[in-house]
């Protein structure tokens, strides 16, 4: 006879763990000194644990406590977290507390991660995009325990995550509704929260961390560092792509190239008569570089993945533009913003480190395992999209002209633009015959080369040499020559077939600055709507308060 089926094993496990925790603390609010004992009571060997490592805010106190646990009692954890930002995120593997990892991005820890993987200390399940990892939280990577980060809690355990809500809702929802346990570190415990971002019934314990959580201003670009070449490329983007396709809904990458575009909207683009015709709706973190365009009335809406230090008061004063709560402060949400960027934007434009002859693009470099965060979702055609827009339809028509059958069936296409100078600093070519990603895949025994944006999703490559419109290319040979044609004096560029490139230029597959009636000599920093951090602050009427490191006055 079979034993009766247990249908509430997860709930029983949760009850057992909570019972153990009761010997540590009676209520929801835990003293910081008790958190080590609490985690020992809650976490069991082999658990899936989400340690909230965001792109920006970090559950740094909980990370330190987790890394200090007794590896004899807590071991073989399977960490599932979007970003590895802090040393503690890898310390747990070195000490044997954790063994397996599923993640999205490891920027600053990429080199150490690669060493730990090659030394056999970490088994990587997979490297995901943000949205992909969140999706797996709800399928087969649901956390048993989530250690999250909020701005404030009340005594009932309600959380205020505020402008940097980021990943918290996705993590907590997956954990709390599958009998998992949620522990939150907060900067302060208050009587009344500005608003409730996470309800108390989804949260098991809150602890006031000894110091406010770490947060990184990742999206601040000092206009003083924007070069004339970046101004030139921004002029080409605006005239040759934004105006050409009437791009109204878009997402920008985080580099100086796209900051230059933001800073040219109220000047160069305004002079071209484009106000109202482009760039009204954004999925974008609150980039300080967008302030002049917002102030000039260009921007109708901005939804954000996270926030940006120093922008809080400015955002609060512009509720028609940003997504602010009734309390006045913004709420970001990485999962929703990633979905918005993927399905509701007509254009993504960003930079990369390497592009190959098939237009595959990657920021992966040898000796580092970094992942790509959200870029692959932003920089990919949304095959499930069904709503039309003039921009999307025009790109789709260009890609399908002359094709029949399934490949010729009418549909739109997202514009995915890779914007690079042909040489990066130290004369590193941005165009290469073979991406480092291939070698890295062999070294780290990855199932696929870590390509950030696949060539068949890239619609345009923009360099100081011009724009290559890959939608108009027919066949791999044309595509290769279009890439070579804008690759300048790199070996890839010098290897072009001049006759074929001239032909592509005649067909406007390749457009040089002069083909767009742009004189490179007009590309000066005087076109930038702000040329310094001080200018950005002044443009905001003093509402934007740059972090100290960006103040040089």
């Amino acid at each position: 006879m079979n034993a009766p089926t247990v249908w509430d094993g997860q709930r029983r496990s949760r009850a057992t763990r909570l019972k153990r925790a009761r010997s540590v603390c009676a209520g929801k609010v835990v003293d910081a000194s008790q958190v080590g004992a609490l985690l020992h009571a809650l976490i069991e060997p082999g658990d899936r644990v989400c340690l909230e490592g965001n792109n920006q805010k970090q559950a740094d106190f909980l990370a330190r406590v987790l890394a200090s646990l007794d590896a004899g009692a807590v071991h073989d954890l399977h960490m599932v977290q979007s970003v590895l930002a802090l040393p503690e995120h890898l310390d747990v593997f070195e000490s044997g507390i954790a063994a397996k990892l599923d993640f999205s991005f490891s920027g600053p820890q990429g080199a150490r991660l690669a060493r730990l993987v090659s030394g056999g200390r970490i088994a990587i399940g997979a490297i995901h995009t943000y949205l992909e990892l969140f999706a797996r939280y709800f399928v087969d990577l649901t956390p048993n325990v989530a250690l999250v980060c909020a701005q404030a809690a009340d005594r009932a355990g309600n959380l205020y995550t505020g402008p940097n809500t980021e990943d918290t809702p996705a993590i907590v929802e997956a954990t709390a509704f599958k009998s998992g346990l949620v522990v939150a570190q907060v900067n302060e415990i208050v009587d009344v929260l500005p608003r409730v971002d996470i309800p108390a019934s989804w949260v098991d314990f809150v602890v006031r961390s000894p110091a406010p959580h770490f947060i990184e201003p990742l999206f601040t670009r000092d206009p003083a560092q924007v070069s004339e070449i970046q101004v030139l490329m921004a002029m080409m983007a605006i005239k040759g792509i934004y105006a050409e396709y009437g791009v109204q809904r878009l997402n920008h990458g985080i580099g100086f190239d796209t900051a230059a575009i933001e800073l040219l909207l109220p000047t160069y683009a305004e002079a071209l008569g484009l106000k109202g015709r482009i760039c009204q709706h954004w999925t974008l973190n609150p980039h300080p570089a967008l302030i002049p365009a917002i102030e000039a009335g260009w921007v109708k809406s901005v939804h954000s993945f996270g926030s940006e230090l120093g922008m809080e008061d400015y955002i609060r004063a512009r509720p028609d533009v940003f997504f602010n709560g009734a309390d006045g402060s913004m709420r970001s949400n990485r999962a929703f913003c990633q979905a918005a960027g993927h399905y509701a934007c007509d254009l993504f434009i960003g930079s990369t480190l390497q592009i190959d002859l098939a237009a595959n693009s990657s920021t992966a470099t040898l000796g580092r395992i970094a992942g790509f965060g959200g870029a692959p979702n932003m920089g990919a055609d949304a095959r499930g999209r069904r709503h039309a827009s003039p921009t999307w339809l025009k790109a789709g028509r260009q890609a399908r002209e002359g094709l029949a059958g399934a490949r010729g069936t009418p549909r739109g296409q997202k514009l995915v633009v890779q914007m690079v100078e042909t040489f990066r600093e130290h004369m590193e070519p941005a165009f290469v015959e073979h991406l480092d990603a291939w070698t890295l895949a062999e070294q780290a025994k990855m199932p696929l080369p870590p390509i950030m944006i696949y060539g068949d999703d890239v619609t345009h490559i923009l360099t100081e040499e011009g724009i290559a419109n890959l939608l108009l290319c027919r066949g791999d040979e044309e595509r290769e020559q279009a890439v070579r044609g804008v690759a300048g004096y790199t070996a890839v560029g010098l290897g072009r077939d001049r006759r074929m490139v001239d032909n592509l230029r005649d067909r406007r597959v390749i457009q040089r600055p002069e083909d767009l009636a742009i004189d490179p000599r007009q590309a000066t920093r005087n076109l930038l709507a702000a040329r310094s951090m001080r200018d950005l602050m002044d443009a905001s009427g003093g509402l934007y308060q740059p972090p100290g490191r960006f103040r040089n006055w």
Binding site: F423, L494, P520, A523
Partner: protein
């Protein structure tokens, strides 16, 4: 790519069809990291001569290609171009030379 220390001197000369005649020397750009200074002066020749001093060694082939393309476009004659380079990219080199040429054309 590692760039050995020390200055490299490069010299190129291309024929030109458009004599610049007499003009006051033109100076563009600044000597700073990733930038360059270029000075155009009249010369009693039927060519355009480029005298390059660069802190980034080993890029002679790229310099030659950049300067040849510039000269294909402008076809200057009777001009000496002196360049002090601090690792400018070809994009910056082309832009500076275009700015300088505009001053004498």
């Amino acid at each position: 790519m590692s760039v050995p220390m020390g200055i490299e001197t490069l010299d190129y000369e291309f024929p030109g069809r458009r004599p610049a005649g007499h003009f006051a020397p033109v100076l563009v750009g600044v000597v700073g990291s990733g930038n360059l200074e270029a000075m155009l002066e009249p010369a009693p020749t039927s060519t355009c001569r480029f005298a390059v001093q660069t802190s980034a060694r080993g890029f002679g082939a790229i310099w030659k290609a950049v300067l040849r393309d510039f000269q294909e476009h402008h076809s200057l004659a009777g001009v000496t171009v002196s360049i002090n380079d601090m690792g400018a990219t070809p994009a910056v080199v082309s832009l500076r030379l275009a700015q300088a040429a505009a001053e004498i054309e």
